[in-house]
Symmetry: C3
Subunit: 317 residues, 3 copies
């Protein structure tokens, strides 16, 4: 929590108007009245009118479109400023607060695991050797963390989950703003990961924490080994992600979506419930209608099969 | 070990005939006389006649094809029942039996590693910090486990092996039965992984344990980093799996098969000895004849090269 | 450090001339006057003339091309002999020398981490639980190693770096010589990894140590989760590697190269500075001119888009 004046002083920026208490950063669409947002990409300019943000990092040429009551923080580089401001809201990686973790009844915490202060583990869980659980992580009941799993601070794991060895939950999303000189400024990832109940996750999979808000894995999902889930993805109930799937940031899957082995999504795309993406399918656009899709770029799977037939005939000529 | 009557009671199913001692579950083809099997997919109906299984979860319409002496457990959902029964045969994840691991002469077990009760480690091995070895794991002589390797219980690793950091051996295969409502019931993976002698495995690779029996990595195999090997795969002697290869469950590779980087297999396929799959090749059918293959769907590599030539010419038009 | 006579005796090989002190192995091009090199692939025969190597494993038919002063070690299998010799130069995996690691001021080393003798950690670093740091590793200032990271011995990590959980730095490159019988002889990877300043690396990524010399990740690079970087790669300043990228051995990227998700390179290729490889692009040849490329085999991205248009039209016929 910082004052707007403090933040702007840290960034070397000026603003007009009253000071405000700022609790964090967010997109124009999702910002609360105590959050700062930003506009760099003109694609989002229409979101200005309805934003509830306390203040917005904004370029001089769009500042006139800001609604009344939202403070303009004018800069030629809003995204860089967002990145710099994000550092002010990051929490300590590992705190020793003196509030020991709360461990539920009949939960077994094996020797060689580490549970940070403030974590809350439910009943009948099994925390195996080499597991590292960060501050304030919440784990439900009957959940198993296999060896060498890492759960970063502030993440939430439901009940009846199984997480296999070496999996990482809550690592920083891949976020940075690049300067004109080509250098990268880290955007601190101040969100978390929420894994709901009855989820099984394979070995050496990675699920990144959200930049703002949460990356969400909903109830009953099954995730295989070596799967990558980028920041701010939402995986619908009972979806199935086969090994080596890669979901780019902000992918949103409906319930019972099946992603075949090595399939992937580009960022910010939505996949309709009950859709199947065949192995190696590359999702390059929103999938609005349930069905079976494959290929890269993505098409209906039966079209992909037809295309393979056409190519085979070309080869025979 | 359970009685058939106990299992059926747990699942709420009835059967006719004498009670039997059941030691586990298996496929129709491989079941022993003390194992239960199942038939859901009509593709396997021909295996009914010769099964040695004690009992079979079977639908009403195929029950008449069961040979005499094999007990029918009639259900509309044999695969779901298999899944539910599998939970009865799973072992504890980590037991504290009071039988300490046996460590061979001149083996160095570094501080910060964990070896569970009942494990047997050979001579002149090196168990580095952060390694977790489960109950009853057997490791041969001269084998090196680099930091943060996890070996799940009951797996077997040969002599003269090198396993690099972060690799996971014996995690659960990706197995579940899906209900008509789209929920997933875990099939407990009660098999193991057997890695034979003189195998080197790279970093952060994952090898899943078998659902029944063993996933097998044969003598002299070389596996690179971030490779996925599904449950019940068999990797032939001296085969080479380059980084990011993904082998779906029950893939069977002959000796000296080479899988190029990011290549993959669909499940239940066989690849002939001395075959090379080029980088990114997607094995979509059995490879019966040794050669060099590539593309997706798979074709002879020289045909794939020809296809690229044809496509390049189309582009020039 | 061995004498040439000792090495040849160990390998059962003869040579003519004076004995020499040998400090290691290297390529013809890079060998110093105290190193042994090898020639098996005729592609490199032109490098014989200018090599500074002390001695060369060489076949009888090319021995006459060796310059004066370079000792010939004649063998029908130079590459196998290189592999066998490499074992003589490998260091102990983990030494207990009694020289404790040096830890800089205000660096926090959390409980449950392991720092081997001879390591040197700078100031204000954070070494989290489950981190394993090998002998003689050097880490700069302000660097964060998240849980369960493994850094193999002799690697170097700069200042202001962030390495996420489960990542492995310095595992052995995928190197072996294969005998005519199809067996593999390990080539010990006696180089290291150098990560320069201000590098962020995601979770469960793997960066292999060099066979000779160093794998290098230059200043300001950003690497996502589950990325594979083979031995002897050089990643130019401020380059960006998105999740599941795979770089084969000796790939050389200029500064500000962007590799999209799941893209990959074949070995020994160079990519010009400021080049973008689209998601899934497969780099099959050197990229000499900056631009946007994609597809597999690689082509200009606009050509790849055009090709997809042509294929879509074929489908409509």
């Amino acid at each position: 929590m910082h004052t707007l004046s403090h933040i702007c002083r840290e960034l070397g920026l000026a603003y007009d108007g009253e000071d405000k208490i700022i609790r964090g950063l967010n997109t124009l669409k999702d910002a609360e009245t105590s959050e700062i947002s930003f506009l760099e990409n003109s694609k989002y300019v229409s979101q200005l009118a309805s934003t509830r943000a306390a203040a917005v990092f904004i370029t001089p040429d769009t500042v006139h479109r800001l609604p009344e009551g939202v403070t303009a923080i004018v800069t030629e580089t809003p995204y860089i400023m967002l990145a710099k401001a994000s550092a002010l809201f990051t929490r300590e990686r590992l705190e020793h607060t003196g509030t020991p973790a709360a461990i539920g009844e009949d939960t077994v915490v094996e020797e060689g695991s580490y549970i940070a202060d403030g974590a809350v583990i439910g009943e009948r869980c099994h925390i195996m050797p080499g597991v590292i659980i960060g501050n304030n992580v919440v784990v439900g009941d009957n959940t198993v963390l296999y060896p060498n799993v890492t759960v970063y601070r502030d993440c939430v794991i439901g009940s009846d989950c199984i997480i296999h060895a070496g999996t990482v939950i809550g690592s920083d999303g891949f976020g940075f703003a690049t300067t004109q000189q080509g250098e990268h400024v880290k955007i601190y990832q101040n969100g978390n990961v929420v894994v709901e109940d009855d989820v099984e996750i394979g070995a050496n999979t990675t699920i990144d924490r959200a930049v703002f808000a949460s990356t969400v894995v909903k109830k009953g999902v099954r995730i295989d080994n070596l799967v990558q889930i980028g920041h701010n993805c939402v995986i619908g109930e009972y979806s199935v992600l086969v090994s080596q799937v890669g979901l780019a940031g902000s992918s949103s899957l409906g319930r019972n979506v099946v992603m075949g082995g090595q399939s992937a999504t580009a960022g910010h795309l939505t996949i309709a419930p009950f859709t199947t993406i065949a192995a190696r399918g590359g999702v390059t656009k929103n999938v609005d209608k349930a069905g079976v899709y494959g290929g890269f770029p993505l098409m209906e799977h039966r079209r992909w099969l037809k295309l393979q037939g056409i190519l085979a005939r070309l080869l025979k000529k």
